[in-house]
Amino acid sequence: MKHRFHFNFFWLAALALLLVVSLPVFAQSSNAASVGSALRRIFSAHDYNTRVVMSGTGLLGIACGVVGAFMVLRKKALFGDAVSHATLPGIALAFLLAVAMGGTGKNMPILLLGAGLAGLLGMTVILVIRNSTRLPEDAILGIVLSVFFGAGIALLGVAQRVNTASAAGLETFIYGKTASMLGEDGRRIAWCATALLGICALLFKEFRALCFDAEFARTQGWPVRSLDALMMGMVVVTTVIGLQAVGLILVIALLIIPPSAARFWTEDLRALVLLAAAIGALSGVLGSGVSATFPDLPAGGVIVLVAAAIFLLSFIFGRSRGLMVRAAARVRLERRVNRQNALRAMYEVSEQQPEHQPIPESALRAVRYWPGVQLRRALRRLAREDLAREVLDGWVLTADGREEARKMVRNHRLWELYLIHHADVAPSHVDRDADVIEHVLGQKMVADLEALLAESSPKPPVPVSPHPIAAATRGGAS
């Protein structure tokens, strides 16, 4: 039950996000209902048009976050970039066609349809070249991106010659211009975002299997190529609805950055998709809001900068893979290794001398190299754990400390022997930290190793080190 709840929770949350963000584009312009007025307070200081723009770009952010998450995990990020550039000739051609048929050419649905068709054509060209040649994929993407974009620039020139006045606005598709976004544009984005979210919810498990292990998905009988095509088609749709707001050059940022930022926070795909949607929405709403507040600040750029700021914060503070978490993990590892080294060094020194005789620090330094104050720090930490005590002329292990050190030395020596006698096994499987060595090596192997050790040792509780202790001194982690 718990898991079904989980599944629904993520998609319901995504849907709720979508609804909240889309309210302004569906609210009536001036005399909005109570929900509208509540939202107006949130988005206060802005008029209806600004709200529509913020809502529209927020919805775009949701669509981009959701679709982008799968795109990035399928390792197709640059594919998205190529496809978005490939839309430009479609826009110019659609304009020319509309003019030829006697309109002004500034019919948004027709222009976007042209963009979508050109994007799909670019996608098909990439697939055809990839399946029929041995060119590396990045080269293919580069070719398609630049050729389509070049063709688009050339066609834009033609469009300007044909009808200078109304063709002037076409360039805004390259960098995006939110000011021109109307309620109907916002609603179009809302419907597209809903459809994309719905497809992802329905095909979530198929997409997950495809992104993780396409070959396995094929042996299961899933039509991998069609699923891939669908996913890339969704990227094209996202690009097309993003043209107006952020433009075809920057839309890729909204596809890649939110899922990449979300990856620092979670190890679960559903949470990743939801989080990417939220980050995309936040980037869109904040970015277009800021851009509307300050004159001459283009929305596309600001939206990307907001997304980048969120990425930076995630990169540093991300709970799952952020810089801080990793740094903390590294410090913990260093401490653990040092603690082990200190315990082992004390044990090995105490083996060579009468029991309970204090061990001077110089003796520990003779056994192993300790940079700077590392040894003192490790010893003080042992004292805090009651494993060791400082006495007049050195340190002694407490009873607990002896026991702990004995276990550690035994493990270490068994592992060393294992490496020496089973060199054919990949060394990466040696786990020095394993509390119970038997769990990794199996009872029989450990018994064999202990027998091997017993042969060379007169008194068995801890096997004698397989190498002379003094010889290992300068080897660092021997």
Partner: protein, 270 residues
């Protein structure tokens, strides 16, 4: 001494049984015009552990992929119980090489194993609690149930391999294809895997395993396919796993020859 072209020329191919789990009829596979598998023509026996051995680049993985239609075949055909793969898809389980996927992917061990059930769950349908229970059972069979919630990159190589195996178990197949499941795993994992493979065989499954460690071949496999672009020998291990066949398969690779000699000595003892 037979001349090489005489050896590869098929004497009018062996009789194929319509009841064999897998019948491979003259399969040839080429990558970029260069053939990597020639005229493989054999039946896989029912409820046996079958090892596929041969030097690097001999086409061991390619053979499995050609059977599963993951790589295009230049010629030939593969039948499952006399029918097509499409018809018998549910009978086939697959364990790819561990390196073939990105283990940094944001899924848990349980998520991966559940993928083995997707086919049975069907299009558009959600994963139900009973599916997760089934996946947990598969995890328990490889001793990984206590790691179900771990993100897969936090597992060791051997544990990752066991996750892949559990996913195949969840498929509940009759014929399993495994690509180097013993490569680079720890001793515990190796034991768990081989015990499981024997369990599967005893339950009537056919298990085909690409294997690289010649020393364990006589101990692990009932049947071997010795491959070097073409099939050098195939049959019960006690019949075909001989020094002569190993020499033919591995050619002049000296270190391997030594291993082979040891392995042959072991067969003699068995």
């Amino acid at each position: 001494m037979m001349l090489p072209w005489k050896m590869s020329a098929q004497e009018p191919g062996p009789e194929h049984s319509p009841h064999a789990p897998v019948s491979i009829h003259d399969v040839t596979v080429a990558y970029h015009q260069k053939p990597v598998l020639w005229d493989v023509d054999l039946d896989l026996p029912e409820s046996k552990l079958v090892g596929v051995i041969g030097p690097n680049g001999a086409g061991k993985s390619t053979l499995i992929k050609a059977i599963l239609e993951l790589v295009p075949r230049a010629s030939g055909e593969v039948k499952f119980y006399g029918g097509s793969l499409r018809r018998h898809r549910a009978l086939v389980g697959y364990v790819p090489q561990r390196e073939s996927v990105d283990w940094d992917f944001p899924v848990s061990a349980l998520d991966v194993v559940t993928m083995g059930l997707y086919r049975r769950i069907g299009w558009f349908r959600h994963i139900r609690h009973r599916h997760l229970r089934e996946a947990m059972n598969a995890l328990a069979r490889v001793g990984m149930d206590s790691y179900a919630r771990r993100q897969i990159s936090q597992l060791s190589g051997g544990q990752q391999q066991r996750i892949f195996l559990a996913r195949a178990l969840a498929q509940d197949a009759r014929i399993y294809f495994m690509d180097e499941p013993f490569a680079g795993v720890d001793v515990t994992t190796e034991q768990i895997i081989i015990n499981l493979l024997r369990e599967l065989r005893d339950a009537g499954c056919t298990v085909v395993v690409v294997h690289h460690d010649l020393q364990t071949v006589p101990e692990y496999f009932d049947h071997v396919i010795m491959l070097n672009t073409r099939v050098v020998a195939a049959g019960p291990t006690s019949d075909v796993f001989t020094r002569e066949n190993l020499l033919k398969t591995y050619g002049g690779r000296l270190t391997l020859l030594e291993e082979a000699a040891q392995a042959v000595a072991m067969t003699a003892k068995h």
